[in-house]
């Protein structure tokens, strides 16, 4: 099995994702250059965090037009696993692989800190190593993570259990106070209909090792490794 991390100009969590996939999980991992229309035969594509094109227009707006994204879209349509983290999530919504959009944080400021997340769907390929309702601590680092979608889209997401992560307090309750950015229903991560494309604002790669404040992000990568191994 093989993982690929896309590098857009301005990506800055690309090396972090590469490090975790390759050195922590021991996966065969490659970088995928945005100008190349070539996925190098990977089984998992990670769209990393950062500021593609400086986020100068809208986050992810320019990146979606790169040659690699054509390939990623085809790959996703065929059922390939795609994980978008932070800016990667924004690229996924901009490209239409996931619904909705990410607006500026309610307080208009960049926020970098650990938050509590509730795993609301542990039945996905990305979350099988968690339990439903489990509370995990994973950091966020964004200025535009305020998830927005029209009412019917939100309803569809909720009805079909497609909200995978939600901001919550230490007891697992969602509330105004535990919602760092104003996202509708405290949404922190969602999955597509067919369950192979996940976008999330928090950064699991920042807490996937013993030395970090938590190791709670590790299980996303571990879940994926299990699933992909099973496929092959």
């Amino acid at each position: 099995m093989k993982a690929g991390v896309v590098v857009f100009p301005g990506s800055n969590c690309d090396h972090d994702c590469y490090h975790v996939l390759k050195h922590v999980l021991g996966m065969d991992t490659v970088f995928l250059w945005h100008k190349d229309a070539d996925l190098k035969g990977v089984d998992l594509v990670v769209l990393p965090g950062g500021f593609s094109y400086g986020d100068y227009l809208r986050c992810g707006a320019i990146a979606k037009h790169s040659p690699i994204m054509q390939e990623v879209t085809e790959f996703a349509d065929k059922g390939g696993y795609v994980l978008g983290i932070c800016n990667g999530f924004q690229v996924l919504t901009e490209s239409g692989l996931l619904p909705g959009a990410l607006l500026r944080n309610r307080e208009l400021k960049f926020i970098c800190k650990y938050v509590n997340l509730r795993v609301d769907n542990a039945g996905t390929a990305f979350t099988s190593r968690y339990a439903d309702g489990e509370i995990v601590r994973i950091p966020i680092a964004h200025a535009e993570g305020n998830y927005f979608a029209s009412e019917d889209v939100i309803k569809e997401l909720e009805d079909n259990n497609r909200v995978v992560f939600r901001y919550c307090d230490e007891y697992g309750e969602t509330s105004e106070g535990s919602n760092p950015n104003g996202s509708i229903n405290g949404i922190a991560g969602i999955i597509n209909k067919s369950g192979n494309v996940l976008g999330m604002m928090p950064h699991p790669e920042r807490c996937a090792e013993e030395i970090m404040q938590t190791k709670d992000g590790f299980h996303i990568f571990e879940s994926l490794r299990k699933v992909i191994k099973g496929v092959l």
Binding site: L57, R58, G182
Partner: protein, 80 residues
């Protein structure tokens, strides 16, 4: 030749920046201001060519605005 594209949030999309500015302006004592909405505009310099409007629409739709949350308006300067 010049064109301008104006992009703003659709109705119903929350605009926290506008609300923050409204608050600041009111606190300055300007009660006559009742609402503020924030948008972006792009001043574009273009070479004269065919279907300028079509092409700009495409650029606006695909790049400058996100149709899920934003709407846009194009103005093309008549001169030149």
């Amino acid at each position: 030749m010049k064109a301008q594209v104006f992009v703003k949030f659709k109705n119903g999309v929350l605009d926290p920046q506008g609300q923050t500015i409204l608050g600041a302006v009111n606190r300055m004592g300007h009660d006559f201001v009742k609402d503020v909405k924030v948008g972006k505009f792009f001043e574009i310099e273009i070479e004269k060519c065919e279907n300028v409007e079509e092409k700009l629409k495409e650029i606006a739709n695909k790049v400058l605005a996100n149709p899920i949350i934003e709407e846009f308006r194009i103005e093309i300067d008549g001169d030149n």
